[in-house]
């Protein structure tokens, strides 16, 4: 394993991890506010197809990002209505959202299958930074959406742990009754973060159709939404860990492919299994009672809040 090999694997890991990173950041925000959304896969698909159509018809990939953001948000608002207002089971509603998104994206995208996108995002070298040895080649020769995700991670981290809004978000996810009694609007807070989560998932999907592939093919998200859900646990609901985790999750395949080209025989099945093995390990660690508080798993996650049941 030489220097070039390592750079190539890590650079691919960043690109492959970015769609997962967006979706995982969205899910972190959502779960921190106490709502589990298993509709990530569906929201990503709808984001991918609407983003692709918007970028193709306007000729501007940013229009695609905007469209994906709106579409992802709209999808998430259905989940918010069902789980926050109607207090429906969050698992059922999330699964329904994934099924719905899969069908809807296929329906919308029928006429766009396999069309090439003439104007995808292209890599832009950041002056100065891209010249940094090693890190420059890995991090700063990417497309604008990757840079946007670089900014988003510290921003979300600060929002979560450094602001009053973040404190309210976490309070709503930990103990909605207490937050309510202190004057935090639990319903509005949950609505807002579920929808923001959906917007980020939408961008994650659009990253696939606007940059990574770039084209629309049915079901092209191919399970990344589920990986993102697992990643949230792996990252212990922390955006910075999510960044690292998504590059590991994304990079593991890239590593597998590169090893195969070097005749190193590592079973691709084994490599594919690794991220989930890590996730299970983290889950075991997290569920030990005295670790719970330290890790930050939202206590009220998955539970509907009903004022009258206080």
């Amino acid at each position: 394993m030489n220097y070039d090999f390592l750079v190539a694997v890590l650079a691919t890991a960043v690109v492959a991890g970015t769609p997962i990173l967006y979706a995982a950041l969205g899910e972190i925000v959502c779960e921190r506010a106490g709502i589990l959304n298993l509709g990530v896969e569906g929201m990503m698909l709808v984001g991918a197809v609407t983003g692709f159509i918007a970028a193709l018809s306007t000729g501007n990939p940013w229009a695609g990002v905007l469209m994906a953001l709106l579409a992802g948000g709209a999808m998430a608002s259905i989940h918010a209505f069902l789980t926050v207002s109607l207090k429906a089971n969050q698992v059922v509603s999330g699964l329904a959202l994934t099924l719905f998104g899969t069908g809807l994206s296929a329906y919308i995208g029928k006429a766009y299958i396999g069309m090439p996108l003439p104007n995808p995002f292209r890599p832009v070298e950041v002056p100065v930074l891209s010249e940094i040895p090693f890190l420059g080649a890995i991090l700063f020769r990417n497309d604008p959406l990757v840079y946007l995700s670089f900014l988003l991670v510290p921003l979300l981290w600060f929002l979560l742990f450094g602001t009053r809004a973040g404190l309210n978000m976490r309070a709503v996810g930990e103990n909605p009754a207490a937050a309510d009694s202190l004057g935090v609007n639990v319903f509005a807070t949950r609505y807002m973060y579920v929808i923001i989560g959906g917007m980020l998932a939408g961008i994650g999907g659009a990253y696939l159709s606007l940059t990574y592939v770039p084209a629309w093919m049915e079901n092209m998200v191919a399970g990344r939404g589920w990986i993102a859900v697992a990643l949230v646990i792996f990252a212990t609901w922390n955006p910075v860990n999510a960044l690292i985790g998504s590059y590991i999750f994304g990079g593991i395949h890239a590593l597998g492919f590169r090893l195969q080209t070097l005749d190193v025989s590592v079973s691709p099945y084994f490599l594919k299994m690794l991220p989930y093995l890590f996730t299970i390990a983290v889950l075991i660690f997290v569920t030990r009672k005295n670790n719970l508080n330290r890790i930050g798993a939202p206590k009220a996650l998955g539970l509907a809040y009903d004022r009258e049941e206080r």
């Binding site: 109607l86 299958i113 195969q260 080209t261």
Partner: protein
Amino acid sequence: MRKPGFKVFLVLLTLVFFALTVVGCGRGGGTDSGTSPDGGEKVKVGFVYLGSPGDAGWTFAHEKGRQYLMEQIPDVVTETVENVSDADAERVLTQLAENGNKIIFATSFGFMDPTINVAAKYPDVTFLHCSGYKVDDNVGTYFGRMYQARYLSGLVAGKATETNKVGYVAAYPIPEVIRGINAFTLGVREANPDATVRVVWTSTWYDPAEEKNAANALLSVGCDVIAQHQDTPGPQQAAEEKGKLSIGYNSDMSALAPKAVMTSAVWNWGPYYVETVKAVMDGTWTSSQYWGPMSDGIVGLAPFGPMVSDEVKSLVDEKKTLILNGDWDVFTGPIKDQQGELKVQDGQVMDDVAMLDMMWFVEGVEGSI
């Protein structure tokens, strides 16, 4: 007192709304029904798809076959069901039989046992199962000798490579895929004895982004032509972006990567569907295991891209004529395996059983099973 009734109703209403929309989308695929304008009775033909025609690959090729059938035999009405999982296949097949379909095509390997089970309950319906090996009085199997088209596409790749390294993105190490890689490699080395074929397994049939990733890994070690056995054109797009060449699969992939795709090894199910439906309508159909050769038109090469020279075209034509006439087939000895051991003696032709069980690489393939 809380009154949960209304909320439960709202939840149900919203869920029903979802469900209806999803069902509506799923059905959008193409259910045609009715009788012919002159009132004559039409033959109903059912198709069960693993994916949807939107995959631009496997199911898309079957869908094109169905459309061809509709054009050729106006007395046919078809009913299709998309996105059928192996677990759900028995229910879907039963439903299609109950709906009055007289001929049912099950287009995925995983539908094999469900097809056999359902066929036993509907003896007057003819079932055709793609790529399987189990038959019954009213169940036949069908597949094509894709390795013949693979070999020809290998000739094109062998002539095109400048680095003498050809990359091959492949899904899973099963005989069908391995047979394709071997045939392709024999073609590559016929055209260019110095060239090798490097294989990367993706362990997925369908993930455009990962398939592209795998192709990029191959490009990074100097491969300048990319072939594939996947369900999407992801590898072709990797080649297009890097300014390299490629060979498509399933259907003509030149639209997505016009500068890269030299040709594609393609499935062409249409003629088989027409012939089979005609045979059943005439009452001449009997159960068989059909493994159609290129001369039946079930497999072939897509039109060449502008980068393919006349010299290469005539080389392909020469070998194609031999295959079409039945004078020669791809796995004719001498063929050595990766370790240099002679697997097929000089002049000997490998039989179908050996081809269907193939779990070893020929000389010139780099990679492991």
